[in-house]
Amino acid sequence: MAALSTAVPAAGPRGAAVSLLPLVVLLLTFVSLTACGVRPPSPDILRFALVSMPVTLDPRFATDATSSRINRLLYQRLVEFDQDDLPVPGLARWERLDARHYRFRLRDDARFSDGTLLTARDVAATYRHVLDPAHASPHRLALAGIVSIEVVDDRTVDFHLEKADPLFPGRLGLGILPARLITSDHPFNRAPVGSGPFEFVAWPAENRLRLRRRRDGQLLEFIAVRDPTVRVLKLLRGEVDMVQNDLPPELVRLLRAREDIVVRTAPGSNFAYLGFNLTDPHAGRLPVRRAVALAVDRDAIIRHVLGGAARPAVGLLPPEHWASDPDLQPLPHDPAQARVLLREAGYGEANPLRLTYKTSSDPFRLRLATIIQQQLAEVGIAVDLKSYDWGTFYGDIKAGRFQMYSLMWVGIKMPDIYRYVFHSSAVPPAGANRGRYADAETDRLIEAAETAPDLAGQARYYRRLQARLLDELPYVPLWYEDHVFAARRGIEGYRLARDGNYDGLAGVVRRGE
């Protein structure tokens, strides 16, 4: 190296100047682009940041949360839900003519964005399309009890069911499409035509979707920004006006400290839980599950990690749900009792309890799992934490390849979720009983609830079922996460929904900042 350095004479000043030319070019380009490139965001458009764009704007095929929420803005449904998650009239009022026969009468004022009147034929065409197995709609299962759909007149449509189902109106949450466009195979996924409060304008880029509010022409743009930090930076800079959820607590704290940003939270119904494999020799033992439940300090996690934006959970349904038992109490944090239970179950230094805990690779979920791992270690449960990409994690959970895992149920409205999750016949692929939980009393209560003649009768059984599940602990309930909405000061009128939908955009306005 020494020989090399002596062989190379130093470049003269001109040589250095020439070699710096590319840097100068780069700097000049940078300056010229920064000088002319930034336009202030147009105040005529309201911008809402999302984590990801909707997969499809066709409600017959949408399954992801973003698609469902945006489709609610574009299409109207026969039935909506009130604050207690009871079904209420949306596009139509209904009456039960007999246990297996429902009649829906449509409102007179519903028109599609192309100006045509929404009629009973559109309702029938939408549901018939979904029910046709050839179209492979993911929503067919929920509607499988429909035997036939009959158009009585322009405003009236009848549904005939295979068997009595008091929950039936709540199943009609599908956006209604125009029949003539269904027939012509219109590409609703990219060019939706609905009767909702918004109409489609353009999808100009893969990460930007533009809608127009029908009542006042207000433009709304959804912008996908996957990284939460960047989403917040865009909000701070005014490139977007609103963000909702999927923000780590430290970013929410940062936003709360800003004068130009308004942060609001509202109780949510998204249910976080720990699930167990009931066929596992350790996780299948009740004292072990109970010890885990007592060892987890939910309050501390909610306070210190979730920034207070959650409330302890008692079961799948939040306490305000019509079928929920509001008197059930969350499990206490009692590490001493957890240690006693483990000792009585035969675990100790000579026979330590070791569990494998699977979670997704989402950094925030991983952080929560690490804290739970630490809390379980304090009562003597050694936890091997394993995180996987979503597809692998979900595949393992469905196949029963786990001892313990954490997940979240999102957007639950109907109490028949209990059959889907806890009935012994609902082991995947038949349902979502991933832990292979089999309890005769649980099955009996689920079946009794389903055959109750009305909602009040169903609620009685579902409340008993919740108490049973809290005793048996196939899930350890963790918390219901709040919804967090942050907007630039001057953005007003947004109402946060308990299921996290974006319906509040129908009333949002920008006042002078």
């Binding site: 350095s5 470049a11 710096l20 490139g37 095929f61 993911p138 067919r140 299962l141 996957r226 490139e239």
Partner: protein, 307 residues
């Protein structure tokens, strides 16, 4: 030259066919069923079967492969399992964004690395050299997921000069290109410095000086040209990687390119989209490598292509 191009084209076809078949089998081995991802848990067996039939997933794997290859020959990449849109249409939306970012990143990298590498070599063991190499070390050490937000903080939030993210006009290209470019420039400048130092010590450089050429002429006409061969190879590889999608940078800057599409499609088990993306990426690599070989011949006429 013609013979070279024909032989490269033939080997490219073999590579692409091999990659297509390999990816087809690999993706079918990955845990996770697209039908279950689409229909959700608890779907009825009849619905799952109907969807499998509709998507052609009920056929034996070798028949599916046959259909896939047949479609490829006809220019039909298939339909996305999730959005049910033609994949060709999806890729056409993403390719311009990826090309734009890859080329801009490469230009930034070259514009930074060339002067730094040359100065570091010509002024070896001086503070210039130390400064340039410290920059290189810094660039290679800072990961893009940190560099991106840092640049956003400075240039978008504090100075307010550039948009935070998105793909809306030339200004929005600056920060992602800088993020990619600085990381790449770090590696490139070290490579330029090392090869230039080696070349400057060759006999023909001394001869050129003895002929009376100025030092600047020697560097430009002889040293740089010869030092560029390994640099071009590296550039080719880097460009290939960029065309495959700069995933982190695309995510940080919400850049709607191939990288984001690949990640989303893998997560959703959207087999046909993943296959199409991998095919595209292998095509990009083959194309860039061929161009790299052509550059060799231009830089060093002693290299005769096809011989």
């Amino acid at each position: 030259m013609m013979r070279f191009l024909v032989s490269r084209l033939a080997s490219a076809l073999v590579v692409i066919l091999g990659v297509s078949v390999l990816v087809f089998f690999l993706i079918h081995l990955v845990p996770g069923d697209p039908v279950e991802v689409m229909l959700g848990e608890g779907s009825q067996p009849a619905d799952r079967e109907a969807l499998r039939r509709a998507l052609g997933l009920d056929l034996p794997v070798h028949v599916q492969l046959g259909h896939y290859l047949q479609g490829l020959l006809q220019g039909d990449l298939g339909v996305s399992l999730h959005s049910r849109r033609p994949i060709g249409e999806i890729l056409l939306e993403r390719i311009p964004a990826t090309l734009e970012l890859a080329l801009a990143g490469l230009v930034v990298a070259v514009l930074i690395a060339l002067p730094l590498g040359i100065i570091a070599a010509l002024r070896k063991d001086t503070p210039w050299d130390g400064g340039a190499m410290a920059f290189a070390m810094l660039g290679v050490s800072i990961p893009n997921f940190w560099m991106g937000p840092l640049l956003i903080l400075v240039f978008s939030l504090w100075l307010g000069w550039l948009p935070v993210s998105g793909r809306e006009g030339p200004a929005s290209l600056v920060l992602p290109a800088l993020t990619l470019g600085t990381a790449m420039a770090a590696i490139l400048s070290r490579m330029i410095r090392a090869t230039l130092l080696e070349v400057l010590n060759e006999d023909y450089i001394r001869t050129a000086r003895a002929k009376g050429l100025s030092w600047g002429q020697v560097v430009r006409r002889h040293a740089l040209r010869n030092a560029m061969l390994p640099v071009i190879t590296l550039l080719g590889l880097q460009l290939g990687a960029l065309l495959a999608g700069a995933v982190i940078t695309e995510i940080v800057f919400s850049w709607p390119g191939i990288g984001q599409l690949v990640i989303e499609s893998i997560q959703r088990r959207d087999y046909p989209v993943v296959q199409a993306c991998v095919l595209l990426i292998s095509l990009a690599y083959v194309l860039v490598n061929t161009l790299t070989d052509l550059c060799y011949a231009w830089l060093d006429p002693r290299i005769r292509l096809g011989q």
